[in-house]
Amino acid sequence: MKTLLRALLITLLAIGGTFALDPFRNYQLALAAACFAAVAGLTVLVGLTGQLSLGHAVLMAAGGYGFAFAASAVDGPWPLALLAGLAAAAVVSGLLGLLLGAAAARLRGPYLAGLTLALVIALPAAANTLPLGGDQGAPAPFFPVPEALAALIAVEQWHAWLAIVVAAIAVTPLVVLRSGSAGLRMRAVLDDETASRLSAVDPGAVKTGAFVASAVPAGLGGAVLAIATQQVTPGGYGLAFSLLLVVAAVIGGLGSIGGAAIGSVLVTVLPWLIDELAALAPDDLGRRLDGNLALLLFGAGLIALTTAWPGGAARLLDRLRAARPLRFATPSTTTER
């Protein structure tokens, strides 16, 4: 109950915050919210069960396609289309997550990473082979500002609201799950599979379940992107984006949902900010730095964080709040297993 109230409070706070932002910043906020949903799922999967998925972009794409097709198919008032789209996004990504989870239950770390990597690479081919609209992708319906609000807010702000609400719906169950007995079981499996098996915890079931629980928020994140951009294209969900999700999870601190929020904002805003700075450099150099400098810094950040400072941003905040008891300050980090 406490978690739900808190979620509600944060959601309202975030919606209030959109009034301080201009349209483009609100659009970026919607993107960050989409990332947040996916990264929250990823960070729980990696941090609590130790399964590294490089394919969360594909789970987002699955959610996005599900949303686009279902919401376009519904011929009714917009809330109905929205709900149908979200339900489809959850179902499609959940099913794909179930498949991956079933595979993951049988595979050790690098094998799973390999499978998910091949999945990302196969996405454009799948979009061309299956009836998904090829490179142009599938159009998602446009949700205009409701009339009652039209005088008050611009469309970007409205989409930011939708994004925040959907992200909240996606992430809150994850928080509940993580702090409940399911989270305990995940940690048990991570610590020692044999011991957990002896305590009647089936590692395979836990791993599969964790994958599904991680896939659904990712799918909803994909739906958020489809709302904000009215389009789902395979090109938007490539390897680079998938790796960016991993970056966000690691920067935030693996296992930490608050960290996922920080990481998502960083990977959304920093590349843009750095490119603005790179544009100030002389022509030729600026062109070379553009896009690449952000990547370089993210890569260096990943390495530095993992080798020197494995807790990520979440740990930093813990340090700042030194009053906190220490035992809370060490969630599952990259150094644990």
């Binding site: 301080a20 201009d22 142009q136 159009p139 928080v175 960290g259 805003v269 896009g291």
Partner: protein, 421 residues
């Protein structure tokens, strides 16, 4: 862990809010025309300056910018200088969305001009339509841009791929009526369009073999082997420059020298020569047939002007088909802006293009009209001879399902390439 969550999320939000500074999100009620001041017009574009497509297309926007600098140095259009904002999207549709939203909401551009790529530009088509931003001269041959009923502000620039495919097939039939004709296409709307065009002329059963490739796999051995085994004599290519070079090179390695008929997007001789090497290129590309509609004849007056502009305003960058393309787009926008009147609005700009009065600088006048947002419906055949690519005079107009030969009607250069004044 549990109790600190609000703090963290709030901190994240505060960080996001701080980046937004004191901006407000309420809808604009400003009466003035976005992007137009008394002495400037600001327009924007999205281009692949980084990423896998950068190698083929990054030079286009530089050429356009150089042309605008030339115009500005000579007084601008109706007394206004053109400011051209180029955003990089790395050929990634999600990056395009961010780039174009930034141009529209932050930079408040008057229009988006020459956004490049089918998957990329498709991603912002609806957005630009909702915002009523003129979406001019899209740099892609998809038929998507010519839907005036749905997208009333979107106009194409390239001759569409179906038109190119049909013209290439017609020329092949006219030259060698009995040849076995095959197609190699990219696995997207580009390849599909070329294949569709060839099939409208030949009938779908008369194409001997159809192969596709994906840009992610840089290997055409399997495809070339299959086409060779099928006995193809004329290969129509819907390929980008790099893969055109690879197809020609791979076939040559197999001692196979069929006729090459290549779409304009993959037949730029200087670029192909860069891939194949300056010593081999004249030999391997001898007789390569292509289509075009822009004035790139090496001894033409437009090329002479563009070469001057390139030397003075583009640091003498290599002069290729991309240079002519980029400057021609710039010229067309300048012409449209001049025609939009002394106090241009988004409506008057679109009306100027739909009026049908714009002629452009092509080998045939533009076909824009009310209810028709395609720029070029006629294309001229070009052939490479001893390392020089030029028009041979044959020109085809492609209508609904039919191809007919027409006379070329090149638009002459006037007023030193600065429209309006």
């Amino acid at each position: 862990m549990r109790t600190q969550k609000p703090f963290k999320s709030a901190a994240a939000l505060a960080a996001a809010a701080a980046l937004g500074l004191a901006a407000c999100s309420t809808p604009d009620s400003d009466e003035s025309v976005p992007g137009v001041t008394d002495d400037t017009v600001t327009i924007g574009t999205h281009q692949p300056l980084t990423g896998p497509a950068a190698a083929g297309y990054a030079t286009i926007s530089a050429a356009t910018a150089a042309y605008f600098e030339y115009v500005n140095a000579n007084g601008g259009i109706n007394g206004r200088e053109i400011e051209y904002l180029v955003k990089d999207d790395g050929y990634d549709p999600s990056a395009t969305q961010s780039a174009v939203r930034e141009l529209v909401t932050e930079e408040k551009v008057f229009a988006i001009v020459n956004g490049l790529g089918t998957p990329t530009h498709s991603a912002v088509l609806d957005y630009l339509d909702q915002q009523s931003v003129p979406d001019l001269f899209v740099s892609s041959g998809s038929l998507t841009w010519n839907q005036p009923d749905v997208y009333e502000n979107t106009f194409a620039f390239n001759a569409d791929y179906v038109t190119e495919g049909a013209a290439l097939a017609q020329y092949a039939v006219d030259q060698q009526p009995d040849a076995k004709i095959c197609v190699l296409g990219q696995d997207d709307d580009y390849g599909d369009g070329i294949i569709e065009g060839v099939e409208t002329v030949l009938g779908s059963n008369a194409v001997t073999d159809v192969q596709v490739y994906s840009t992610s796999a840089e290997d055409l051995t399997a495809q070339m082997g299959a086409m060779m085994a099928a006995g193809c004599e004329v290969n129509v290519l819907g390929t980008i420059n790099g893969f055109t070079a690879m197809a020609v090179g791979t076939a040559a390695q197999m001692e196979w020298f069929p006729k090459w008929y290549v779409s304009s997007s993959g037949a730029d001789y200087p670029t192909l020569a860069g891939y194949l090497g300056a010593d081999l290129a004249p030999q391997l590309l001898q007789g390569m047939v292509s289509v075009n509609y822009l004035p790139f004849s090496p001894d033409g007056e437009w090329v002479a002007l563009f070469e001057e502009i390139n030397a003075e305003y583009n640091d003498g960058a290599p002069f290729t088909g991309n240079t002519v393309f980029g400057m021609s787009v710039g010229y067309l926008f300048a012409e449209a802006l001049a025609a939009a009147g002394d106090d241009p609005t988004r409506e008057s700009l679109v009306a100027a293009i739909e009026s049908g009065d714009l002629v452009g600088n092509g080998i045939v006048p533009l076909s824009f009209a009310e209810g028709d947002h395609a720029a070029y419906r006629s294309v001229g055949i070009t052939v490479v001879n001893e390392g020089v690519q030029d028009y041979v005079g044959t020109t085809y107009e492609v209508g609904a399902g039919s191809v007919s030969a027409v006379e070329p009607n090149p638009v002459p250069l006037a007023n030193e390439g600065i429209p309006g004044s």
